[in-house]
């Protein structure tokens, strides 16, 4: 488990092998350094990206050109107005959160249900096939999902759900649900598999039905792992860009129902950053949104990580 133990072990082990040539030892230390660099680089990259995004965003806040209260509390997003430029991101924040909530409302029951089925109710051969198919879902590029939302789900919503416009909150939520289900299933299934068989055996020996075993024993026992699965699904949904850009309709407004169009923070950055003049207020405000997103995904991932660590300790 602990990488430091493994390293010291090999070092202690070296003198025990007198027949090893010198070049092998040199090569080994070189490769060791390389692997260490790979490990450290991930941390460096994340920090560097955060610093870069923060540095690009900071001047607009320090200079007082953008009021943080207005940024977080106003829905008026007019970054290129000819009359009065306003940077209110509330509608975009609400957009991101609402799409994620709709996605989770669909993905959590389906994902956890599939995880319970794969881990508890399947015959011996089906789980492998099922897992491969579910993981294939995760491999579909997000732009393809966006395409499905625009060309398949959108006309269906107009025809059958009575939607005035097909690209809306529900469409984006469904697409995101499909994208986060595979994550919830694989991690949820791992969490259920990690529950010791003795729990199941004890419950069955006491005369519990299979339903009672799942509901009263397995779900409480795997609670942390399942929560982590859901949180990672949330992280996936809130950070997704291309699919929501295409499927949500990209309209700055607070949605009043499932059939209203919304715009998310990610989609807004993707749509506007390319053409905002570098160094302008608009450009910096978009980076400020990046900081906000970074903080949201960071908190979600951290929460998931802490929860998973909680499981390992037990």
């Amino acid at each position: 488990m602990n990488p430091h133990d493994a390293v010291s072990h090999t070092r202690q082990g070296q003198p025990v092998e007198p027949g090893r040539p010198r070049w092998a030892r040199v090569a080994e230390s070189f490769i060791e350094a390389l692997i260490r660099l790979c490990g450290v680089s991930a941390v460096v990259f994340v920090l560097a990206i955060f610093l870069f995004v923060f540095r690009e965003a900071a001047p607009v806040v320090w200079s007082g050109k953008v009021n943080l209260a207005e940024f977080l509390g106003s829905i008026e997003w007019y970054p290129t107005s000819a009359v009065k430029v306003r940077y209110g991101a509330l509608a975009l924040i609400v957009g991101s959160i609402s799409v994620t909530l709709v996605a989770m409302a669909v993905a959590v029951p389906f994902g956890l249900g599939a995880a319970v089925f794969v881990s508890e109710f399947c015959g011996p051969r089906i789980p492998e096939t099922l897992k491969i198919v579910i993981e294939l879902l995760a491999a579909i590029p997000s732009v393809v999902w966006g395409f499905v939302g625009m060309t398949v789900i959108s006309p269906l919503l107009v025809r059958y759900a009575g939607a005035p416009i097909g690209v809306n909150l529900l469409n984006g939520g469904l697409i995101l649900a499909l994208m986060s289900v595979p994550i919830i299933v694989s991690i949820g299934e791992d969490a259920l598999k990690a529950v010791p068989d003795s729990y199941r055996e004890a419950a069955l020996a006491l005369g519990a039905t299979r339903w009672q075993v799942v509901w009263r024993v397995l779900l409480p026992a795997a609670r942390n792992g399942l929560l982590a699965a859901v949180l990672l699904g949330v992280g996936r949904a809130i950070g997704e860009t291309m699919a929501v850009l295409m499927a949500t309709g990209h309209a700055v407004q607070i949605p009043h129902g499932l059939l209203d169009s919304v715009r998310t923070l990610t989609a807004n950055i993707a749509a506007e950053l390319g053409e905002a003049p570098v160094g302008s207020d608009h450009y910096r405000v978009l980076f400020l949104m990046g900081v906000l997103l970074f903080l949201i995904t960071f908190v979600v991932n951290l929460a998931a990580d802490l929860v998973v660590r909680g499981i390992r300790k037990r």
């Binding site: 991690i187 407004q253 993707a270 749509a271 905002a276 003049p277 570098v278 991932n301």
Partner: protein, 314 residues
């Protein structure tokens, strides 16, 4: 726990996308130079609306004159004109008329007059769904529909009975705020007022038309070149009671169609040498064919390869 690394990877990739988008804003594609040939380079910058057309010209011109390379970049009409005054580019593209202030600044900064040439026309068509009974609209009505505080929100406000009542709400399709088409529409249809919040802001001219085609209650604006059989173009009148004109090539050239604009190429002083040759070629039949291929309106044959009178247009 297999999918976890994938999720962790998502986080930096979102940020990396931000970085890439930032970089992409700074650099345009450069034409490759065949080794050993001395090249005369013409720098061409400006309007985003014209950038595809300008690229097409530059590419075609390489076949005509392999010893001349035209380097094209976007940024917006104003950016192009500013670069022309600084002497950073030879030709500035503009999809709007030059402002008197810009002409004066150029005179003061360089001591030379800005000369401009009309190289094509563009008409913004107003699109609705074919099932919409509306046939014509006035600029005032467009302003009431699109502008912040405008009172028209339903098709019945325009006296139109939609086939189904749920399509009565007007779905406003617009462009992302950095688009030149958005700015042109704002300036000429909304008299520079801001757009109402909650419009669906698409990322391309084609997307606007496609969304209108699948949304019965929608209205959208886009270049006339993007028309398809699945949408209907409205005739547009300047004022109530005045005749409405369809966005045809003829009505565009004569400026009877109210939301039409000239596409300009601007140079400092009388053009000479290679720059004059290029401008002449752009305004020849070969160059104008590309204007038509790119969905714009070419200049009439009688006006090709002949300089415009040098008076500022109002």
């Amino acid at each position: 726990m297999r999918p976890r690394p994938r999720l962790k990877a998502l986080l930096p990739s979102v940020a990396a996308a931000l970085v890439l988008a930032g970089l992409a804003a700074g650099c345009g594609p450069r034409p490759q130079t065949p080794a050993g040939t001395p090249l005369k380079v013409i720098q061409n910058k400006g309007s985003d609306t014209m950038v595809n057309l300008a690229q097409a010209w530059a590419e075609a011109y390489r076949k005509v004159r392999p010893d001349v390379s035209v380097e094209v970049s976007g940024g917006g009409s104003g950016v192009g004109i500013a670069a022309l005054m600084r002497g950073a580019v030879d030709i500035a593209n503009s999809s709007r008329d030059l402002k008197p202030r810009e002409l004066e600044e150029a005179r003061a900064a360089t001591g030379k007059e800005v000369h401009w040439y009309i190289v094509g026309f563009d008409a913004l068509a107003v699109y609705v769904h074919p099932s919409n009974p509306l046939e014509e609209i006035t600029l005032e009505q467009l302003e009431e529909i699109y502008a912040e505080g405008g009172r028209i929100t339903r098709w019945s406000d325009l006296g139109v009975q939609m086939p189904e009542p749920r399509f009565d709400r007007i779905i406003r399709i617009s462009r992302q705020s950095s688009s030149g088409t958005y700015e042109f529409f704002r300036e000429h249809a909304l008299r520079n007022r801001d757009f109402k919040l909650g419009s669906n802001d698409m990322n391309g001219s084609k997307e606007v038309v496609e969304l209108v085609a699948t949304t019965p209650g929608a209205i959208g604006y886009s270049g006339m070149g993007y028309a398809t059989p699945r949408v209907k173009m409205l005739r547009v009148a300047r004022k109530k009671g005045e005749p409405a004109y369809a966005p045809t090539m003829e009505n565009t050239v004569t400026r009877r169609y109210p939301i039409a604009r000239s596409l300009l190429m601007c140079v400092l002083g009388e053009p000479e040498g290679e720059i004059k040759a290029y401008l002449d070629w752009v305004r020849s039949d070969a160059g104008q064919q590309l204007v038509e291929d790119n969905g714009f309106v070419p200049i009439p044959p009688t006006e090709r390869t002949r300089p415009m009178p040098m008076t500022p247009t109002p």
